[in-house]
Symmetry: C2
Subunit: 147 residues, 2 copies
């Protein structure tokens, strides 16, 4: 991923309360359906890249690397607006999702619902793309979402 | 807050990937408007209390204590459904919000939007209740949301 060399000051970025690990949770919401698509983590370069490019960029804690959402699958997220919560420690991004957000082939990563018993999870959505085929074409592994 | 003595097994709870601190991010979405209302943290007792009571309970990292959303303000969240993401490390709760979710008086904690310049935050919502009056009546301080 290319992090743009953004030298201009971004007071908003500085005003955020980044965690001790330098990260902040970023929720992505589907501008078309209103569905919550995913939650992942951003560090400051990822947020700056998101603002500069208009597409979401995150930081993977498990891979300790930046990732551009959709770089592998083509399923990028075009940013419509960026919101910050009252405490300044969570970001909400409303975006236009290409394809599906979930690396398992679903539109949203939240495709499992707790059942009426309150004990088991049940799949409550249908895949919108063939995840095995999409990620098999790519050299990179499927990008983690919130990991 | 009273954490119900739930002795029945909840496989869903055990299947979640809790963080090293025993917490998981919980996003709350307004079932009526579709708006993302807030993000806060849950530990296992908070999630069990949420499931058992049908109202959201969280864990405050700053106060190191459980809190029942709305205990101070009356602005509880009635849980409609609970969703888990593909990685099992984020929870999404669709809920019916009484009053406003934000301790600053707004319906949603995400009431500030990054402006067109990409540099400043602007308030893009109106308060739905008088936060000073609501929390002045209570002995407890205003509950933090995501802190």
């Amino acid at each position: 991923m290319i992090v743009p060399d953004t030298t201009e000051p971004l007071p908003m970025v500085n005003a955020l309360k980044w965690g001790a690990d330098g990260l902040i949770p970023a929720i992505v919401q589907d501008i078309e359906t209103g569905d919550v698509l995913m939650m992942a983590w951003m560090d400051e370069p990822a947020l700056r890249a998101t603002i500069a490019t208009g597409q979401t960029h995150f930081y993977s804690r498990s891979r300790r690397a930046h990732w551009h959402k959709g770089a592998t699958s083509g399923h990028v997220q075009h940013v419509e607006s960026i919101w910050v919560d009252c405490d300044g420690d969570v970001v909400l991004i409303k975006a236009r999702q290409v394809g599906g957000a979930c690396h398992e082939g679903y539109r949203s990563c939240f495709f499992r619902r707790l059942d009426a018993d309150g004990s088991k999870l049940e799949v409550a959505a249908r895949p919108v793309f063939d995840a095995a085929a999409v990620y098999a074409r790519a050299e990179e592994p499927a990008a983690p979402t919130s990991a």
